[in-house]
Amino acid sequence: MSQLQTVVFHEPKAGSTDEEWEDGAGHDPGDPTTGRAARCVVVDGATEAYDSIRWVGQLVDSFLGVQPAGSAPALARGAMDDWFGLMQDRWQQTAPTTFANIFEERKFREDGSFATLLGCEIHGLGGPRPHWSAVALGDTVLFHVRGARVLTQFPALTAEDFGLNPDGVFTQPSARDRMRTRLDHAHGRLAIGDRLFLATDAVAEWMVRVGRSDPDLLWPALGRLHHPAVFRQIVADRRRAGEMKNDDVTLMRVDITASDPDLLVVCR
């Protein structure tokens, strides 16, 4: 019987505090008794956007159906488009009524906020044929890995593609047509022992590069990752070596297992 074990590692930009981390991640284990699928989401707020943390939090909470309760969208294009509209309306409804200065007001009205999105649903847990389906806007990436082999990378970006993809979920209604058009879908079948990695662009770009040159080292190493201090050290080392750009970093790992976890990490 398959089940999920999920862990999230994250790290702010070098020089920023943990409170300034502008990505977001969350998961819902689902409920096989009601048929509610499990969900995972990773969102990357744009550094130059307005109030990224609020927009990212809103997207994560809603995609998981936490706030507003029951707002989790189906992943079909039409349902996602409706959700984009709901999110934009909610952003406006919860907008500040006063601004600290004319620059903030201009940023809110003219630029708004923007985040990339990778949302994933996992069906059939507890049954013989679990499978995932996912939606993406932008360069947050899902890797479906079996052993040291990537079965699917979604979206299928090359290392050179990162930073050039302008897609994401925008607060501006004028972007909604493009969001609907550019929304990408993928799906895959899962087996016990498979792993899904959901990664924001800086770490995903590094994973694409290293996964190409040294997959036998990369994927098992990421699969053995348990403590956030180890992840923090990896990120710091790769940044120092110039192999990972200085950006907020988020990595969610979803293990498809047949049993409960045999390891519990408690961090001080």
Binding site: Y50, S52, I102, K107, R109, K245, N246, D247
Partner: protein
């Protein structure tokens, strides 16, 4: 080189040199403005964009991603004579190069314009410099003055993207040679200032009051009338981030392109400044 992103720990430095000589009173064809008015408007627009870019969270202060300096040459409004002086407003002028959040707090005026989002409100648009014109064109002294300030800035921020100096002029230099060096010599001294990320960049934009086809980011001085070749020769090659900016603005740039525009109209000036001042902010 030229890889550093802009952040609070590694801010950038952008310095404008503005020709305030007598010829800047000429009307800019098609704009309804004089050259001096158009230059001031373009700089105010870019400063506003930098301020908006530096705004992050609700209720928060601007973040210091940029330091800014503005120097006028020709008429010095504070004395009424010819020379070079900081065009920063009020008390900031004495400091030369200041953090953008401080400049944001000191506009000389805040005007109202129709809101761009069709709301029944009007946008407030700050201005930091006014147009002025008079006397000749002491461009060497302007570069020397700016160089002294950016030298200090580069020493204070050795890991930052190197300073960017953008010279906006319509005239022939009138003080070359100055203090033992000609215009090319002063430009060399300026661009010898460096951070760990590269040498200071000097870009030049030559304004023309006549309508005509301007040239921007040329890779050769061929076919440029006087003083185009001189200004081309002192202009820095465009580093990769700006080549990318130009290409994303649908402007084709050849290998070896320099940060130079000739016979620019107002739209070209604004676009040129945008390409020269648009950077990734990676806060930290």
């Amino acid at each position: 080189m030229y890889q550093q992103t802009f952040s609070r720990s590694a801010p950038g430095c952008i310095v404008f040199l503005v020709d305030r000589s007598d010829s800047m009173q000429q009307h800019w064809a098609g704009s309804g403005l004089t050259l001096a008015q158009g230059a001031a408007r373009a700089i105010n627009k870019i400063l506003l964009e930098l301020c908006v870019k530096s705004t992050k969270e609700q209720g928060g202060a601007l973040r210091c991603y940029f330091y800014v300096g503005i120097y006028g040459y020709g008429l010095c409004p504070s004395t009424g004579g010819e020379g070079v002086e900081s065009a920063l407003p009020g008390p900031l002028a004495a400091r030369g190069i200041v953090p953008l959040p401080e400049l944001a707090d000191h506009p000389i005026a805040v005007r109202e314009e129709p809101s761009v989002d069709a709301m029944p409100t009007r946008s407030k648009v700050p201005a930091w410099i006014d147009p002025h014109h008079g006397f000749r064109t002491p461009m060497c002294l302007a570069i020397a003055t700016a160089g002294a300030h950016i030298y200090e800035w580069a020493n204070a921020f050795p890991q930052s993207f190197p300073p960017i100096v953008i010279n906006i002029t319509d005239g022939m230099v009138t003080d070359s040679p100055y203090d033992g060096a000609d215009l090319g010599g002063w430009a060399q001294r300026l661009t010898a200032i460096q951070t760990a990320d590269g040498q200071a960049l000097l870009f030049n934009i030559f304004l023309s009051p006549s309508p005509g086809s301007g040239v921007w980011f040329p890779a050769t001085e061929a076919n440029l009338p006087h003083p185009g070749p001189d200004l081309f020769s002192i202009s820095s090659p465009l580093p990769k981030p700006m080549v990318d900016n130009a290409r994303s603005a649908q402007i084709q740039v050849a290998p070896g392109a320099r940060g130079f525009a000739f016979n620019a109209d107002l739209a070209m000036l604004v676009k040129f400044l945008e390409i020269g001042t648009r950077f990734d902010v990676r806060d930290g």
